[in-house]
């Protein structure tokens, strides 16, 4: 079992990630390994670098130092001797198709209906014909409980419904990893549950999930590992029962006492 595991590369591996905006260092040397099929929840105060780390994984943010690999393949760069060289845009776009991303503000395309939003990327990238993509989009919308909303424009949907469409859209390209950037932070409290339950359904289906969230109860329920980030560094990480219930660091304890 353990030998088998070693042969299989990590779903996501971040090595020595450093990123600064001007004089402000947002990521200050992050190392993170995420095993395939697991759920990792990243928590931490605002400005701790959670979103930047997530965005670095699908190369929406370029790292100053360090690198990210998904299932053993470097993202956004290639090795040339002992240096890393940025890949051409087409190659980066192809890699991003393997990594789903769900935004805090949904970012659905407002001029396309729900089903068109989901089908757009597979058609755009030539992965599927329009008919195939629409068919798959309908079944994905049904899977997130929106079978009756396929013709609705985002404006006509509630925040929770929009975020569920966004999740279906991320799933449309069969991603190996899905990144969630505070998926429920823009929602009214009574709509949070429906989005979290869709994410919960995804956990354990074999897709690797990395979730930035402030929903501690949710983290306790679904996470295989919780990572606490502060000041661009990983302060502590481990099983939810350990990090959330018996934190070793004062900073983790302070943070949890504020959000719980």
């Amino acid at each position: 079992m353990s030998a088998d595991r070693r042969a299989r590369p990590a779903a996501v591996e971040v090595r020595g990630a450093v990123k600064a905006f001007g004089a402000h260092t947002v990521l200050d040397g992050i190392d993170l390994t995420v095993e395939p099929g697991t759920v990792t929840v990243i928590v931490g105060p605002s400005g701790s670098g959670k979103s930047t780390l997530l965005r670095a994984i699908n190369h929406l943010e370029k790292l100053d130092q360090g690198c990210v690999s998904v299932n053993g393949e470097l993202i956004g760069v290639r090795e040339q001797g002992d240096r890393l060289k940025e890949l051409p845009e087409r190659a980066i776009l192809a890699q991003r198709r393997r990594i789903g991303f769900v935004f805090q503000n949904f970012n659905l395309f407002p001029h396309l209906t729900a089903v068109e939003n989901v089908a757009e990327a597979p058609v755009a990238t030539g992965a599927a014909t329009r008919t195939e993509a629409l068919e798959r989009a309908r079944s994905l919308l049904a899977a997130v409980g929106l079978a009756d909303k396929e013709g609705a424009y985002p404006r006509h949907l509630s925040g929770g419904q929009q975020q569920r469409v966004a999740i279906a859209r991320a799933l449309a390209q069969h991603p190996e990893v899905i990144l969630f950037d505070e998926p429920t932070s823009a929602l009214d409290p009574e709509l949070v549950g429906e989005v979290l339950s869709v994410i919960k359904d995804l956990a354990g289906t074999g897709t690797t999930l990395i979730i930035v969230t402030h929903e501690i109860a949710f983290a306790r329920e679904v996470a295989d590992e919780v990572v606490f980030l502060d000041g661009g560094r990983i302060v502590e990480r481990g099983a939810p029962s350990q990090v959330l219930d018996r934190p070793r660091h004062t900073r983790t304890r302070e943070f949890l006492s504020k959000v719980l």
Partner: protein, 322 residues
């Protein structure tokens, strides 16, 4: 909530009985007598204006009717339409190219685009047209080839530059500068999250522009571009100065031949320009409806729907009064 008078009322014993609601009775809308007075005053002034227009012999409405359908005037109208249509399309293409260059990551493209807009927005259209008209005196030939090297093709400028070409070229160069800013503003109006979402999905750059950014940008581009277009319809009257007999040019030259008919001729030109710009506005309405998809909860009503709605509203009010 807690005004000083009520400080001794704690929220806990706020379970008082509200006063009994009056039985359901229809609410009669407030009357607005001032509105009726203003309406009457405006209608009287309007009637006087119309009366003056109709009865003043100076306008010579019989001559207006005569000139309105004259083939020579309609020929001028055709030239106006032709020049407007071609330069409107070319200006939109040029403007889009300039806007894309302006937002590109290449500093040379950005600078050239900025300089173009700066130069052509600063030049009066009439100056530009007259300059182009005299262009053949400055450059006898134009060549395609390697700069400072051999030329592959050479054109005689005089042969190329008909009045129509000069007119269209001048208008296109001028309007492109304005169109560039309109298209750029439209692209900037699209939320950054849209670019990011498309990039995160791995959608190729050209498709991202065509399918995600442009349709949303058009919501702000269309009204502004139509505004430009309406200006363009009237700006075409300046091509008269490069000897192109458009609607205005025709009327102007007819006016010198028939000096007694100058006023009705100007009215003919005015009427045709009003008809053209009105047609543009009607098209604008439907184009805007098309691009409003998903952006507003209910699309704006068509003029016909609005008219019907107005009548229904009036009937309902009268019914309430009875």
């Amino acid at each position: 909530m807690s005004s000083p008078a009520h400080t001794n009322v704690s929220p806990a014993d706020a379970s008082f009985e509200p006063p009994a609601a009056p039985a359901a009775r229809p609410v009669i809308p407030l009357r607005h007598p001032g509105r009726w007075v203003a309406t009457a005053a405006v209608l009287v002034v309007l009637a006087q204006v119309v009366h003056g227009l109709v009865t003043n012999p100076f306008y010579q409405w019989d001559r207006f009717a005569y000139w309105f359908w004259q083939p020579v005037v309609l020929d001028g109208l055709l030239i106006t339409l032709h020049v407007t249509a071609v330069s409107a399309v070319l200006a939109l293409v040029g403007g889009t190219a300039l806007a894309l260059a302006r937002s590109s990551r290449n500093p040379v493209l950005r600078a050239v685009s900025w300089a173009y807009t700066w130069l052509f927005r600063s030049t009066p259209l009439i100056v530009l047209l007259l300059f182009l008209y005299n262009f053949s005196a400055l450059y006898q030939t134009l060549s395609l080839g390697v700069p400072f090297g051999p030329a592959f093709v050479t054109f005689g400028v005089t042969a190329l530059a008909s009045e129509t070409v000069i007119g269209i070229l001048g208008l296109t160069l001028h309007e492109s500068a304005y169109a560039a800013e309109i298209v750029r503003a439209g692209i900037l109006s699209v939320d950054q999250g849209q670019h990011e979402a498309a990039a995160a999905l791995g959608i190729p750059r050209h498709r991202r522009f065509r399918r995600i950014v442009l349709p949303q940008a058009l919501r702000s581009i269309v009204p502004n571009y139509v505004n430009l277009l309406i200006g363009l319809v009237k700006s075409t009257s300046l091509v008269f100065y490069v000897s192109l007999l458009d609607l205005f040019g025709t009327v102007q030259s007819l006016g010198s031949t028939y000096p007694g008919d100058i006023v009705p001729l100007l009215l003919v030109a005015t009427a045709w320009y009003v008809i053209l710009t009105s047609a543009v506005s009607v098209v604008q309405h439907y184009v805007e409806r098309r691009f409003a998809r998903g952006a507003v909860r209910t699309p704006p009503p068509t003029p016909l729907q609005r008219l019907r709605g107005g009548f229904a509203d009036l009937r309902a009010r009268v019914a309430v009064r009875r």
